[in-house]
């Protein structure tokens, strides 16, 4: 009997955990032999960057879902996968992910980090959340906001005239509440789960990023599996990813609406989003050129 172990940062209800459960179900369905699963939830085994370590080494766990940026120490091009303003809209995002356009990044990840991408979940739309409303270029200029700790994030938000700042995620709530920063950017689920709306109730629909969350497996574990189980894992990964994308992109809009209906957030459009795009494109181009990924960026844009 084969026993596979997984890890999730969240509880059973979260879209990523449900995606992983769907993956487990599908593998069991597609594979004729005996296979069982054991998943650690709620970040008991660490955060996503710890999962990367475990997967790379082939210890402790076999599969997980994570943000691409966590794998950047091994493969610097990976954060390109869901950098801000990469996808025009949900349709573009879904087409791109299903098209296999990310294959060069997958190959890099396999070679440098010993981690195999078996599917793509994600689908959270990231918007600005702030203590005061940010509705136009003037209000955005100099806006002190927390960004994720990757250079491209800081570069993009600097390009659109905001003042990005490095603050650990678990200090964000306190930092906004006390005014160390004025806001941050995230998807609806996080804003709802961690009650960020209490300190940052103003949501600006910049829709600057649509998250890509690869469903990954340790190559050490994968290569040790029998061939028919490998085939089942690959098929289940792709299907579970599609399941997860649909689930999260549907939930995202619903969650935003729920918070708006409950009066927890005030939502507004950003006046002149096209202007932001103009500012960002040169930064994206330079970033891709630095990584030698210009062709890839063009390929994603043209999907």
């Amino acid at each position: 009997e084969t026993k596979l172990r997984g890890a999730s940062l969240f509880d059973e209800d979260h879209a990523y955990t449900r995606t992983l459960r769907e993956f487990e179900r599908l593998v069991g369905e597609k594979y004729d032999g005996d296979v069982s699963f054991d998943m650690s939830l709620n970040g008991e085994l660490g955060d996503e960057s710890d999962f990367v370590t475990f997967l790379q080494q082939g210890v402790a766990i076999d599969y997980a879902i994570m943000a691409p940026s966590n794998m950047a120490t091994f493969a610097p091009s990976i954060p390109l996968m869901d950098m801000p303003f990469l996808f025009r809209d949900l349709e573009h995002w879904d087409t791109a992910l299903a098209s296999g356009v990310m294959a060069p990044l997958e190959a890099e990840l396999l070679a440098k980090a010993n981690i195999r991408v078996i599917g793509y979940a994600g689908g959270g739309v990231r918007n600005l959340a702030s203590a005061e409303p940010i509705g136009n270029m003037d209000e955005l200029t100099g806006h002190k906001m927390r960004v994720m700790g990757a250079p491209i994030q800081a570069q993009v938000f600097s390009a659109i005239k905001a003042a990005p700042s490095a603050i650990a995620y678990n200090e964000v709530y306190n930092a906004i509440q006390t005014g160390v920063i004025a806001g941050f950017e995230n998807e609806a689920a996080s804003i709802q789960n961690l009650k960020f709306y209490e300190v940052a109730p103003n949501i600006t629909l910049t829709r600057h990023a649509i998250t890509v969350r690869p469903l990954v497996m340790s190559e050490s574990s994968f290569s040790a599996l029998p061939a028919d189980l490998q085939a089942a894992v690959l098929a289940a990964g792709a299907e579970a990813g599609a399941f997860g994308r649909k689930l999260e992109s549907t939930q995202d809009g619903e969650k935003l609406q729920e918070m708006a209906d409950a009066g927890q957030i005030k939502v507004q459009e950003f006046a002149g989003r096209d202007e932001l795009l103009k500012l960002v494109i040169p930064v994206q181009d330079a970033y891709a050129a630095e990584l030698g990924a210009t062709e890839l960026l063009e390929a994603i844009r043209s999907k």
Partner: protein, 164 residues
């Protein structure tokens, strides 16, 4: 002779530890200044640099404490009185530390290699610069605890010789 060499070595570590603690204030202080005063731009690498220094400070302090015997222990069983019991009591602790030190050293080499294939996100620094502290700590512990073990045996020998 070896004892004096290790003593010098440990003194070097002491100076280094003091310098690291002082240096720690720089990136953290810059971070506060940058965000609050706007005098200097907000550097996203300050946090990364601070943790680099911090890791080294902890590892160096942990190395020295083995030489000085200042890692905290718990005294529930009474102090040994006879020379043999003293040797067994001190010796057991030192043997356990040396054994763990060897594990830390051996797997630490693997761990350093694991650091070597990574680059930090903000500064793009090769992660070997911090991961290498693991096998170094293992090696220093082995030397320190190993020598203390040798000393304990010598003290025992001298005592039994003196008693005869």
């Amino acid at each position: 002779m070896i004892g004096r060499m290790l003593d010098h070595c440990c003194n070097g570590l002491r100076v280094l530890l003091g310098v690291l603690i002082a240096a720690l204030a720089i990136p953290v202080g810059m971070q506060v200044l940058a965000r609050y005063t706007g005098i200097i731009p907000v550097y996203l690498w300050t946090e990364e640099l601070a943790t680099f220094i911090f890791v080294w400070a902890v590892m160096i302090g942990a190395m020295m404490a083995v030489w000085d015997g200042t890692h905290f222990d718990v005294r529930v069983i009474p102090d040994a009185t006879s020379p043999l019991m003293i040797l067994l009591q001190d010796g057991f602790v030192l043997v356990m530390i040396t054994a763990f030190a060897l594990i830390f050293f051996w797997y630490g080499i693997e761990y350093a290699k694991f650091g070597y294939i990574q680059n930090s996100v903000m500064m793009r620094a090769n992660m070997l610069i911090t991961y290498i502290s693991v096998p170094i700590a293992g090696a220093m512990w082995t030397l320190f605890a190993g020598y203390r073990l040798y000393e304990a045996v010598m003290v025992y020998k001298n005592r039994t010789v003196a008693a005869q």
